[in-house]
């Protein structure tokens, strides 16, 4: 028998590497009743060649026992803080109720992506034949489910006090601006498993999520939102592991076969641009929606993409990988992105589940300082005009529906890379039908896979086709108001959830409940 000779002395513990190796090599097996190609039918059709799955290494070498232990600790920590936050009416300690609108955007736009990521990684885990890849995907699937749940639990407390948070999954599947994140993720999920992990683990999590979570969570802390900082940081602690996985995945694929390089480069080009377009929402959050600001979008772009992303792509040049296509366009746009995006939401806020407003004078001063070459010249006059109109009781709302980009589904408001005063339009004709794009980046992606994107569910088209009314609605009835009906279909409480912030029920409640002004000084 293998009894230890000295019962006082425990057997030597396995090292981290040995432990991980037992989990990811020792527990795997090749199927014999069915050929492996039939059991894993999806990991070859994308053209990626893998010769040795054992070369896949998770540098964190997390084993299941450690995974459950640390995840359990994170949960206990998080829920203790969420409890304390709720018991102490923490929702009234944020800077002012404008801040809550970032949570509305987050809950309706980002949290459902966490759930989608859970599904996506569960599928990726099923479809990879390498054991360590499957384990990494499985852990991430569980992480993402945890994120979706903790975000819903945390933000549900705000739903007791503020509007627009009452039905985020219903909204996510229907509302026009939420089709931007939804279609982004569904594009990835409907790709093959290698494209999915390259898109989400690498292009999104490694290259771009720092831009979402680091300024956003630090911003939440700065604006007094203890609950959001906590779930954000709790999620982010998993995210670091996911980012690491993203880099390892890409290196693994590139090292396996030289034929993989051009395929991966194409995915990097595509998913960089898709992710960057998605982050337009984050840019306006940072520059306009946080009453107290941590850094500007342009500064964050310089720090997290130009510097850190630059270092990353320098590291990958040894594989023959270059910076993603159109990264220079993104850098040219950094001084205008947030202003163009916020102005568009200011126009259409009556059809959104969150409020918008004209920045205060002190905030415009900050914007002038952060954007010295663009803000005063191009954007301040527009805000001043809107402010005057508002003072006269003529708050501007745009009554038309915007044209959407076929690819990113964002209204076509972006400007020409070399001319910030001219709207950028691109088009392609495919099978005698014309398709419209906001940029060369989006047009290229379409041209490469037209059959995928001609099927896009574009909210504006769907509204005009009569597909965004509740069942039983009669659009021919006298006095029929299509916009009001669409908002009902979205599940909005009209007059409460969207529109101008000043004078909104949220602003009034804030003053009544806290005694503080609706806009903090």
């Amino acid at each position: 028998m293998n009894m230890p000779t000295n019962p006082q002395k425990p057997a030597k513990k396995l090292s981290l590497k040995e432990n991980y190796s037992h989990l990811t090599r020792g527990l795997g097996w090749d199927t014999s009743y069915q050929p492996m190609d039939k059991v894993f039918p999806q990991d070859k059709f994308e053209g990626i060649k893998i010769h040795d799955w054992d070369k896949w290494e998770d540098p964190f070498r997390l084993t299941m026992d450690a995974y459950w232990k640390y995840q359990g600790e994170k949960e206990k920590k998080l829920y203790a803080i969420v409890d304390a936050f709720q018991q102490n009416n923490g929702q009234f300690n944020v800077t002012d109720a404008r801040y809550i609108n970032t949570l509305k955007l987050f809950l309706t736009g980002v949290s459902p992506l966490e759930y989608a990521a859970h599904r996506g990684f569960a599928m990726a885990g099923r479809n990879f034949r390498g054991t360590s890849a499957r384990i990494a995907a499985q852990m991430q699937a569980i992480d993402e489910l945890r994120h979706a749940q903790t975000q819903a639990h945390t933000i549900s407390h705000y739903n007791k006090f503020f509007n627009g948070l009452h039905d985020y999954t219903h909204m996510h599947d229907r509302v026009w601006y939420l089709s931007v994140p939804k279609s982004y993720f569904e594009d990835a999920m409907s790709a093959g498993p290698f494209e999915f992990v390259t898109a989400i683990s690498f292009s999104f999590e490694y290259v771009l999520t720092n831009l979402l979570f680091m300024p956003f969570m630090s911003g939440a802390a700065y604006n007094g939102d203890m609950a959001t900082v906590t779930f954000g940081f709790s999620a982010q602690s998993d995210e670091s592991r996911h980012m690491t996985l993203g880099l390892e995945v890409v290196k693994f694929i590139l090292e396996q076969d030289p034929g993989n390089v051009p395929i991966v480069q194409k995915w990097l080009d595509k998913w960089f641009w898709r992710g960057y377009r998605l982050l337009a929402l984050v840019s306006m959050m940072m520059d306009y929606m946080l009453p107290k600001r941590v850094m500007s979008w342009a500064e964050a772009w310089e720090m997290y993409f130009e510097q850190n992303g630059g270092a990353l792509f320098n590291d990958l040049t040894r594989y023959g990988i270059r910076m993603p296509k159109y990264h220079e366009v993104a850098s040219m746009e950094k001084h205008r992105l947030s202003h163009e995006t916020w102005a568009t939401f200011y126009n259409y806020t009556h059809a959104a589940a969150f409020h918008t407003w004209v920045p205060e004078e002190s905030e415009m001063k900050w914007l002038s300082e952060k954007y010295p070459t663009t803000f005063d010249k191009l954007y301040r006059p527009r805000f001043e005009h809107w402010r005057e109109q508002q003072a006269k009781g003529e708050r501007f709302y745009n009554g038309t529906l915007p044209m959407l980009c076929q690819l990113c589904q964002i209204p076509m408001f972006f400007t020409e890379p070399d001319d910030p005063t001219k709207i950028c339009y691109r088009e392609t004709t495919y099978r005698d039908e014309k398709f419209h794009f906001c940029s060369d980046g989006c047009k290229d992606i379409f041209d490469n896979e037209p059959e995928k994107y001609i099927h896009s569910w574009l909210p504006v088209h769907q509204i005009y086709q009569g597909n965004c009314f509740r069942p039983g609605t009669d659009p021919t009835a006298p006095g029929f108001d299509p916009l009001a009906e669409v908002l009902q279909y979205y599940g909005f409480h009209v007059g409460e959830d969207g529109g101008e912030y000043l004078g909104s029920p949220d602003a009034k409640n804030w003053k009544a409940w806290t005694g503080k002004p609706a806009v903090s000084e």
Partner: protein, 95 residues
Amino acid sequence: MNAIAKDKVFIAFQTNDETRSIVEAIEADNREAIVIRYPAMVKIEMPGRLVIRRETIEDLIGRAYDLRELNLNLISLSGNIEESDDEFVLYWNQH
């Protein structure tokens, strides 16, 4: 050939009691480390290569430490990772 500036790696932690000693250990083991403090977050940048040593942390906190505990307070990082029982290393391959 001109010497090119080394690309920076970084690691960011939540600001709390546990990470105070971790940051101190990193500063002790990485002389060129730059520590930047944001609301609720501390970010450490280092040209080329950053090492976190288990022993240095253990000396500061006075108990055994498993480097995987870093996971609990980690917010983000950038660089290739090499982890063993004794060291957690972040690095970029320089050209």
